[in-house]
Amino acid sequence: MSIAVKEAEIIEEFEMLDNWQDRFQIVIDTGETLPLMPEERRVDQNIIHGCQNRVYLSSDLDGEVLHFYGHSEAQIPRGLLTLLIRLVDGEKPEDIVQASLDVFEKAGIKDNLSMQRAVGLESMIKRVKLEAAKYVKN
């Protein structure tokens, strides 16, 4: 499934909901599905700077595609991270680098975040792209 298809799915899921509470309940519940990041991956170099609480992200190349691991103690950032990982996991690095990854705007999630938290979300997106960029040959 391409990033675009997965993005459309997420947007559809959120479009039906007309208030922040329902949207964020989905975000929180989605976070519960994130597989536990192995302890040895929760190291300083995998911390995403710019988030208020501690958020980790790392990736592995598996053949042609990338697999992502993430962790956050707080539920809302974990939910956002899970949605982001759902979009890019199993995709080719060059596709991830080129994707707009603006699903959070389109799904009406970003509007509900404070400035500081929106910055945290941007940092997650940037980090995903940086991870992918490591494997893209110029």
Binding site: Q21, Q25, Q52, E73, A74, Q75, I76, P77
Partner: protein, 408 residues
């Protein structure tokens, strides 16, 4: 004075409180971070800039004289607030943080030697840790820490052991910003005096809750920020005993802090100007004084009773269900309650409270060692002011119930 404490009437003086945030009436419980400002303070800033803005201390023209006298009147106002001996003991700074750095960088650099000890406590704000660590690194002095117990109270028997012949400075936070604990600074000052050490009290969280008397405390230095006491940001106070201020070297060089300058020899001004190089925060001083006047117009016995009622009410409501863990239950506390919703991260709870128009602080409150002590990532902190109400606490509890449904 005998009038009943009319919180609704007081709220009318604070324009910012009358607004909606995210569709709900604002509930402002982040007073520990900064207090809101009464109309009188806001008007003092406007009337300075629209009526008598001029540089001070030098001009002979009328506007400059008006600005100078308002600025120096602010010093008198602070002197009276703290019950200092004279206004020469009042130095204007950017805030509490600068006051501590000033002493560390002037007194500390001049007097500290390798092996000397600076004593702080386990309950400090970063602002009363890092400046001392920096000067320790420079001079070879050592930082010693008085521990606290599970209630968030300092262990005085340990203090007795730590404060000793090598102690040169005991620097203590008067009221904990993270937990609300009122520290027994009188006892600590007495211990310091017994060994001939200096004392600095960080009063950032104290001045907005109760009367501080530096003569009675007999501390060497006392620092606070105007913005936590109804005044503007970027403005603060360092009180120092005049005999100390005369002996310690100046902080920064520049205009106003000198008596005469030549390339061969510069003679410094007397305190307080010796420590106030450059054009100061004039409107900051003037509007800070207006905040102090507003504070003085309140009946402090009633304010204390009202704030303690809020603290007690919030504590009771949080304890009623067993869903929350209160961090810091000292005997003597100001109206601050730090807590956790069981099973939820404070960051997420803060988000949901904000969605209900409720402003609280979440995180480590610039006091990471306290969070390390309790082994928690941070807390949710509701810090009350005299303009808050029980009805607002009810709103917070309703929003917390939503947070619990969504998170826990």
């Amino acid at each position: 004075m005998a009038d009943k404490f009319d919180v609704m009437k007081i709220r009318e003086d604070f324009p910012i409180l009358h607004q909606e945030v995210n569709g709900y009436p604002l509930v402002y419980f982040d007073n520990g971070a900064t207090s809101q400002k009464p109309r009188q303070v806001i008007e003092a800033i406007t009337s300075y800039y629209s009526g008598y803005n001029a540089n001070i201390h030098r001009g002979v023209h009328t506007l400059s004289q008006r600005a100078t006298s308002a600025y120096e009147l602010a010093r008198e106002e602070v002197k009276n607030l703290l019950n200092a001996r004279s206004s020469e003991e009042i130095i204007f700074t950017k805030g509490t943080t600068e006051g501590i750095n000033l002493i560390a960088q002037t007194w500390g650099r001049h007097y500290l030697k390798a092996g000397d000890e600076i004593v702080v406590t386990a309950i400090e704000h970063h602002a009363n840790i890092v400046p001392w660590q920096m000067i320790c690194e420079e001079t070879g002095a050592l930082l010693k820490v008085i521990p606290m117990d599970q209630n968030g109270e300092l262990i005085l028997e340990e203090a007795q052991k730590i404060i000793g012949p090598r102690t040169r400075m005991v620097a203590v936070i008067h009221v904990s910003n993270a937990l609300g604990t009122i520290n027994p600074v009188e006892e600590l000052i007495a211990m310091a005096q017994k060994v001939g050490a200096m004392t600095l009290i960080d009063g950032a969280q104290a001045v907005a809750h109760f009367k501080v008397d530096v003569k009675k405390l007999d501390c060497d230095f006392y620092v606070f920020s105007a913005h936590k006491l109804l005044g503007p940001t970027g403005m603060g106070v360092l009180y120092g005993k005049l005999s100390n201020l005369e002996q310690i070297p100046p902080y920064q060089g520049g205009g106003d802090m000198i008596r005469s300058v030549s390339f061969s020899k510069t003679i410094y001004n007397d305190p307080p100007l010796k420590f106030e190089a450059g054009t100061p925060n004039i409107e900051g001083a003037i509007s800070m004084a207006e905040g102090i006047r507003y504070w003085n117009s309140l009946d402090h016995t009633q304010v204390a009773a009202h704030e303690q009622d809020l603290l007690q009410y919030a504590t009771e409501r949080l304890k009623a269900t067993g869903d929350y863990r209160i961090i810091g239950e000292a005997q003597n506390k100001v109206a601050v309650v730090s807590f956790l919703l069981n099973g939820a991260h404070p960051y997420d709870v803060g988000f949901i409270l904000d969605k209900h128009g409720i402003a609280v602080r979440t995180g480590h409150h610039c006091a990471e060692p306290i969070m390390q002590f309790f082994e928690i990532p941070g807390t949710i902190r509701a810090s009350f002011s005299f303009y808050n109400t029980r009805a607002e606490i009810d709103k917070m509890m309703d929003a917390l119930a939503v947070a619990k449904r969504m998170l826990a």
